[in-house]
């Protein structure tokens, strides 16, 4: 109970302190900037964003046609006689002579043609929308019905098609045929309702509404009916708006926490805090609490604003925790402000990619579920997700967050906070901080087991990166990277102990330490796999990452052999032996995996 009171007290101090720093000079400026932001947003919305202006050169002989396209700033329109245009065809990306478009054969010409086509469609639609007889202007409506099918990891990769052998006559279904009601031949919408809908949908700026539509679950009167022009697949980058709306504010707020931790370390200001008779975990939690609540409030505010379901908050909480845990560690590790900036920019980019790129494939591929952002996309769409999905996409965030907090809490002391050592030795020291001197083997065991979530996260990252490559390359690269990451994780503990106490490593101790690491790694791996990752392990990618799941003694031998290579290399060549040892271990690991995959594929 008293720990709870400590946390609240420290949280109150933190709020008071940051407000006293911020309010004096910053608040008035912040208000001015906010007002300016609103004004500028309005200005930009009215003026449009002029980043792609004048990309294409287009020559037109007819002023009436030229008027159609001169409003699109991407085109620089030149009017000339058709003879002049024909002579200088090469100078233009597009030429329109006597109402016929000729595009240059370059990539740019094709792109210009696509843009022109979209503009022309828009213009044509604006003419048709004004017609009296709308059903003459829009004579064809497509009712788009989607049919559920079992998702198949291998079948949908790269848009592959489950090919049926081209037999004679139509195929015959294997399952039982359920009666599908005959669709009604009428649209069920009057011309007036249709006109209303067309006016609202054409008045929207498609460049902007494309993104805002991702956020809103707008119901059109037309239901599932579209005109042929509207029949287009979702654009791949649309979910980036979610990154801007949800993830950026979180990243921004976590910066304040990072800075607050860093400030405690400058000129030993944090000594007061450390001398308090409270547990370090209470100090950390207390300092973190205001930021956590703040971030939660921001997310709740945004959710309310876009009128999304409050369920959106569930996948956001592990992201918040993960961000805060990383902010804490970065704030404790960085030696200077510029280092803080670089590390935090690096971290945020990597974390954002990890969150964003899989979510591109939302609705398309199960791989998208490794990102909690996909759950947000699904929630906003109104698609249900299960508790298992939630666990699957967030468990790594929960675990890594918790482990980072533990490391931070163990190292939140004068010795670590105020030391001026280099970056990598500092990381080593942090690890040493959680490895107790008395029980080195138990510590190695635990460290190896705890490194598993980080290993999986980095391997998942690799999976995302290499997923887009054609099949053989993606497998090979993934193989090497996965092996290297595992070896690095296993070597971390041994290396830390080795540097701290070289004399400890007699040959006997060395073998014992390696055995402890190998067993710890195996146990951690198995535990996490059994808990969650069944979906990915079923695929061929999973078989690369988590191959070692099969028989128990084989992977154990592999882990032991690999870590022994690294340890021996360390013992023989000292610290310089780390890299060659890692390389050798990776090669061995790859060979093992290759052997099994080749056997497995055959």
């Amino acid at each position: 109970m008293s720990a709870g009171r400590d946390i609240v007290t420290i949280a109150r101090w933190e709020v008071k302190k940051s407000f006293s720093v911020m309010s004096r000079n910053v608040l008035p400026v912040a208000i001015v900037l906010f007002v300016l932001l609103v004004i500028v947003t309005g200005f930009a919305a009215q003026n449009g964003l002029h980043i792609q202006d004048g990309m294409y050169r287009i020559g037109i002989d007819d002023p009436q046609v030229a008027a159609l396209f001169s409003s699109d700033a991407r085109f620089t329109v030149y009017e000339a006689g058709d003879a002049t245009l024909a002579d200088n065809r090469g100078a233009y990306d597009l030429v329109i002579v006597k109402g016929v478009v000729y595009a240059s054969t370059t990539e740019k010409g094709r792109s210009a043609l696509n843009t022109l086509e979209r503009d022309y469609t828009q213009y044509r639609n604006s003419v048709y929308t004004g017609e009296n007889d709308l059903f003459a202007a829009y004579p064809l409506w497509i009712d788009t019905q989607s049919v559920e099918s079992e998702l198949n990891f291998t079948a949908t990769q790269n848009g592959q098609y489950v090919q049926v052998a081209p037999g004679q006559g139509p195929p015959v279904p294997q399952g039982t045929v359920k009666n599908v009601p005959t669709p009604s031949p009428t649209l069920g919408v009057t011309q007036d309702e249709l006109r209303q809908e067309l006016v609202t949908s054409s008045s929207q700026n498609t460049q902007v509404s494309r993104y805002t539509d991702v956020l809103s679950s707008h119901e059109s009167v037309m239901g599932t009916f579209v005109t042929p022009d509207q029949l287009s697949p979702p654009l791949p980058f649309d979910s980036i708006i979610l990154v801007f709306v949800f993830i950026f504010p979180l990243y921004f707020t976590s910066q304040f926490f990072m800075m607050s931790i860093m400030n405690e370390r400058i000129e030993r200001k944090g000594e007061v805090l450390l001398s308090l008779p409270v547990k370090t975990s209470s100090i950390i939690l207390g300092k973190m609490l205001p930021y956590f609540l703040g971030m939660l409030a921001i997310c709740a505010g945004i959710t309310l604003y876009i009128r999304a379901s409050p369920l959106v908050l569930l996948p956001l909480i592990p992201i918040i925790i993960f961000f805060l845990a990383n902010a804490l560690i970065i704030g404790m590790l960085a030696r200077s402000f510029k280092e803080l900036s670089f590390i935090s920019i690096f971290f945020s980019t990597v974390a954002t990619s990890y969150l964003f790129f899989p979510s591109i494939f939302a609705n398309v591929h199960v791989i998208s579920l490794i990102s909690p952002l996909t759950l947000i996309v699904l929630t906003i769409q109104g698609t249900a997700w299960t508790l298992a999905d939630y666990g699957y996409s967030t468990v790594l965030f929960w675990l890594t967050g918790a482990i980072l907090f533990y490391i931070a809490a163990r190292n939140f002391n004068e010795e670590r906070l105020f030391s001026e050592k280099k970056f990598l030795p500092r990381i080593r020291e942090f690890l040493a901080g959680i490895l107790p001197q008395q029980h080195p083997y138990a510590a190695l065991f635990l460290l190896a087991a705890c490194s598993i979530p980080f290993v999986f996260m980095s391997q998942m990252m690799g999976l995302v990166v290499f997923f887009n490559l054609p099949m053989p390359y993606s497998l090979v690269l993934l193989l090497v990277v996965a092996a290297l990451i595992e070896e690095m994780a296993k070597a971390a503990g041994i290396y830390t102990l080795f540097v701290r106490d070289t004399a400890f490593f007699s040959w006997k101790h060395l073998v014992c330490a390696c055995a402890a690491t190998a067993i710890g790694f195996l146990v951690g791996e198995k535990l996490l796999l059994f808990a969650t990752l069944a979906q990915i392990t079923e695929s061929i990618f999973g078989s690369v990452l988590f191959l070692s799941l099969g028989v128990l003694w084989m992977p154990l031998l592999l882990h032991l052999a690999c870590i022994l290579i690294v340890a021996c290399s360390l013992k023989v060549w000292g610290k310089n032996g780390l890299l060659p040892g890692l390389a050798a271990a990776t090669v061995l690991h790859c060979c093992y995996n290759l052997y099994f995959i080749l056997g497995w594929i055959r």
Binding site: V101, L113, I360, V364
Partner: protein, 359 residues
Amino acid sequence: MKTRHVAIIAKKEFQGLFSEKTILLAVLLQVFIALFSSFLMVGLTSMYDPSSLSRYSHFRYDVAYAGKESPLLGYLENSPDFRVDRIDLSTAVELLKERRISAVVYAPGTPPGAEDPVTITLYTLTNDLQGAVVDVKMKDVFVKYEQDLRTIRAGRLDVTPVPVQIPPSAGSGDFFEFVYGLLVPLLVFLPGIISAALIIDLITEEYQHETLETLVSTPVTFAEMVWGKVLACEILVPFQAGAWLFLLMANGIAIENPVLILLHVTLASLLLILIGALVALHYRERTAAQFVFSTALVVILLFVLALPYNPLNLVARLSVGMAGVEQWIVLCAVGLTVLALGYSMQKYADRIGLLQSGV
């Protein structure tokens, strides 16, 4: 102001940066993003334009046609993308569920000249890449059919649009605009933003670590010190932006006028760095300075982007070889703003320097 002093400070900052080795992270980040975007391009292009992969080029998708006779059936049969079978609706949908065919089309027997529109029902698979591809191919067929129907009903239209004949597009042009109109300008301006954040760190660090007195006690004046830091950050910009251009080109994205792009980026970045320096001099504390700067940055960027011929747009134009004389006018405008800001920073730094030496 002595150039030598400025150079000494710049050198000191560089040594600090390189001894910390964290600048390596920035380089690593560039390679990482470049890798990512090129992988993404390859993956997405093949996903949205399956014909770009040669083995798909003559691929025909099996579709089922149900319902009454209509010209649509003829279009589907003549299309090189589809192989059509006439199957009754319930059976066809079951086949679709089993992934044995890729779409089902149902047509009611509405006559083409009827009062009401013709409604076609299209069944495709949810959550499927293939469904997205089939949608695109189907669209072509439907658009042809729609044009036919419009011609039949043309007598009922009041106005007809100005006719423009557009040849069928060869596809795959969509990434051009994304790459040159967004990726290139944003990436080359990223170093400028990073440098501006860096100058804030460098200046506030002197205040917060209380190392300023030591520095001021040397022959270097306060203003010289600030300019040295600005110089160090500014020198980083062309190198990093150049690295972006190089990485993009290595990924097969041809960029014209790289030297001119670097010129524009370097000058515009100096503007950002000076703003960062002014904010840092004013607040002397990192949290506040970074907060105010990043908010101001959003305002400035949004405002600048809404102006025609802004520097980002110029980079886009230059990279596709479309910039004319106007680029020099913009360059001059940016240069004048830099001069004005530089002058005010000199005055501000002088004043702080006087106060400091007075204390």
